[in-house]
Subunit: 329 residues, 4 copies
């Protein structure tokens, strides 16, 4: 391969997600395989500005493929949003001899990388690491599959106690702007209703559905609510009150799953995806590409300009919403 | 065995806990083994009053040993607290031909059983089923071991994201009056501090400890808080605010685990314990005993009068509090 | 919908796989939603011949979405391979009033269904349920995602002990003719080498690779071997002997994972896939379609003629083999 | 505390078990808490002879409490069985300034430690780390609780497929001389029969039991066999053949769980136990004690002379064998 790239930097940025370590490992090992140097940057752009670097070889990433979180840590960085901050970062990279970089993160991280590239010409490839699955240009973001399994397994446990007591649970899962986690974990856990930002179910229909649910003899009900759902104008605690008032037959409880959804050992899907993405990211840099995101579309690795990735959103699967309706019969 | 008992009823009552199904299975199979009839009662005392019975044989309990919740359902019942309610319950049991009963539940359930026995002479043995581990006369209640593992595994996941971001998490676990879950899951998850009702740590010491934690270079902090802890005068959300105000260096998050701790497949310990307790409960009834709770003390099955079980509490393990302090060095 | 189909039968056949219950649930609930009758057949073609039927409504499939195995049981049936057997089966279906059927299984089950359709004109749609992922016309078979996670999690545990002792493990996973499980679970678990039927690695290269692995300082080695791999001419036990003879530096152990890979609660992916497939299977029948398999291609539900599904195989992912090579650097 | 001990060494030896890392962490943190130096020894006695030491402070053991295996590695060492080997080891310890040591391991490791103490007077405390639970002086060895859960969860999965196909499985679990894992995991998984070295069931009774099992309508059968069981004179593969010959009605399969039982994240019980044992081990050394093993008896930490620990065995729980018989009704 005829390339002038001799050293690649890799870092994680923004909210962490399961599979980030597997992606770091893949980038590092691909560099080793390609006889390219690799350096890890701690705490994303913050560490870049401070020059918090870690030279990494194939052995640096032993036994991390199955670890949640990110060994390189992550952070949000205000200073990088300034021209001065980015200049400092660039100087650090140059003095370390870095020729190109792989950023593992979401929208915000990609926006920074793009700007950085425009200003300093540093080649960059992005790997979409976020549990929310809300990045355009990839069917699956890294960590999404793990997060839906984590959420679903917890709802399975809640179901045990819900059906022992004929209770109704509102379970809030992550997803600030999108309902992917709610929809998939909800269908997987057999939820009676799923409230997501993309689809306005309405309070009326929710009540109707819960009434019917009782009538048809269901022993328990689980309503999964995406964190960012505004369609009912109520959060899970207000929903509880609303239902208790209008359907006093129900004994209602609330569960907010929260940050546990970001952690845990990644699933096989996420580890394989991370391994594939890391290889392609390094290869793309060595082929002289830049400003692209590695994604997976139609089961194949595909590249999308970072500029498009940060603008769009993956659409919610309308057909799966329909499946969900049918399943709650 | 020379006994006049020909039919035993079994039911679950109060909050459900993992292992209840394993205990039901054990009672049913022991009856089958002893050639005694067995009948399940749905929804605890409520179903008893309504005569909601299910004749059970060895095959009725196939493949339930690993299921969370309770196939016989559970409920809290106001009517049973009245003389009339209990009379109805007794009439139902008599018309079903029930000679004795095994109640799987906690304090409240045992109190009802004891009163019922006093009034109608129905022999009864209790099996302590609650995740809180707060019943006198047994080192472990049924479901406790599962609950501490569930809580700990979730905290492990939270740790992944906490240490990726150098964050502090307050994690609330169950335990309205007691800190057994918090203390064990906390030590198991390597929590930096554990707040329990039995021990007044104080806000001052919490701040000191968190300050020291930062100084010694810890990458994340988890403080586990028992639901019922009043020692700081603050709940987890107020603690977050308090710490953010006094230690702005910390980025604080809150997680309330909630009802997931009641569900899930029971651990091996809980299944074995349930199996042992069920056998002993039936044997005790056939030996003419009554008003006792089956417990485990010093690794052996032991009986405690129900009247004592409902009064006392298992003491918190002071030595383990000390271990926790040392571990957070 | 204008259709003459009033009653649909559903059954599982051949080797079981996680997600079969979720698929049964989906078929049953979709029938209920469409106001069509549904009947389950126990033990596949065997139960069909014996008329072992179970009328099912929406409530018959409560709380099974998360259960491994199949509540309708499965079996291989010699009698159905005879004309007489199939005649009996047809008579049973007719007397039960069945108009169409959904078969959940693999190659063999589909072959039988196709023949049955040719002879008696019974409309049939197939759902690919097998952990091996070896059916043409679908990127993922039902149960595959669960199986690779099960295998990978076990290899994670083996890794713990392998790296504590600097040992080499040969781990045999399922896959009689194909290496999909081995390749995915192997990459996911960070295996040093993966032996699959589709790719002739050769004993020489294996030894080379293991030698290099030691030299580069790896603390342990895992070689994942597909059950059906014949490329080395040796099974896992013979491989152990061979390596111990040629590389005495290695302390070698063997693990054959076996049937555990067929069981367990399905992953979210498999539950969602099963739900989607069940809906589409019933809809296809109601639209007058037959002799098709529901699959997933490029993230969308797609139909493939059963006649093609049983002939082809899903190709192994060559790119993933390359990723695996790079990852074991 | 008035003690001359300034530096304590800790190491793991023999077969690894889950919880060893938690014990290392506890020893290291207790030393830090007590202001004592601590040094880890890699690969047990082998590393001791080679002087493969690692100075450890409280931060050296961050985030290892939940990891399977042992970060200090383990090995069996022939050279330590010679006087010369032990002399080398002692010289290494002295030159490192080690005053006392904590050995985490089983019988063999304790025997070596005892001999070492006799010869060189090095104070030593043992922590029983082995999954087999076969060490006298402690109700639970470190790793046992995790191992029985691992085995049980795998058998749960096997049950899924066994009952889908009405099959009989022989499942071999670890336990070379003792049946603790088999008995507990077997009862927990609802095994129909459990074959252990301590109890001669006999082939006749096994056949009788399996016959009865079919008659009473069980849909599947699991027979758990301890690795070391010689009571039938047959291993699991021979048992399969024997049963197929004498009870052709059964479709029999075999599963050998193997080394996966040694790995995996430790359970809460094992982590808490490890934490408690580590504290007591260090405290005992500082109090001038030696040649003792820390164990848990009747729920309390208790010390047993190493010389007794290596001679005796924990007796099998006869009552649990009886429970097992009743449960398989």
């Amino acid at each position: 391969m005829d390339t002038k790239i001799k050293k690649i930097a890799v870092f994680t940025s923004g909210g962490d997600s399961p599979g980030m370590n597997a992606a770091i490992r893949s980038v590092v090992r691909t560099c080793a395989f390609m006889k390219i140097e690799c350096v890890g940057i701690y705490r994303g752009y913050e560490g870049m500005i401070e020059g918090d670097f870690l030279p990494m070889n194939a052995r640096s990433v032993n036994n991390i493929i199955n670890k949640g979180g990110t060994i390189l840590k992550s952070a949000r960085c205000e200073e990088f949003k300034t021209r001065e901050g980015r200049q400092k970062a660039y100087d650090q990279l140059k003095s370390e001899g870095v020729d190109a970089m792989v950023v593992i993160g979401g929208d915000g991280s990609f926006t920074g990388a793009l700007l950085f590239n425009e200003e300093f010409g540093m080649p960059v490839i992005g790997i979409p690491g976020t549990i929310d699955n809300d990045i355009f240009g990839t069917r699956y973001t890294l960590g999404f599959d793990t997060a839906i399994n984590t959420a679903m397994e917890v709802i399975d446990k809640i179901r045990d106690t819900a059906s022992s007591h004929h209770r109704l649970f509102f379970v809030e899962v992550m997803g600030r702007d999108v309902g992917h986690i709610a929809l998939n974990a909800g269908v997987g856990a057999g939820a009676e209703e799923i409230l997501i930002p993309e689809e306005n179910l309405g309070l009326e229909r929710l009540l109707e559905s819960l009434k019917r649910s009782k009538l048809t003899g269901k022993s328990s009900s689980i309503v999964v609510v995406a964190e960012g759902d505004k369609t009912t104008g109520k959060n899970v605690f207000q929903l509880k009150e609303y239902v208790e008032e209008h359907l006093p037959i129900y004994d209602v409880r609330v569960c907010v799953l929260g940050h546990m959804q970001r952690g845990g050992a990644p699933t096989c899907f996420d580890r394989v995806l991370a391994s594939r993405m890391g290889v392609k990211a390094v290869e793309a840099l060595l082929e002289g590409k830049s400003n692209l995101m590695v994604g997976i579309l139609d089961d194949d690795i595909a590249f999308t300009p970072l500029s498009e990735a940060i603008k769009g959103k993956t659409k919610i699967d309308k057909e799966l919403i329909r499946v969900s309706d049918i399943m709650s019969t």
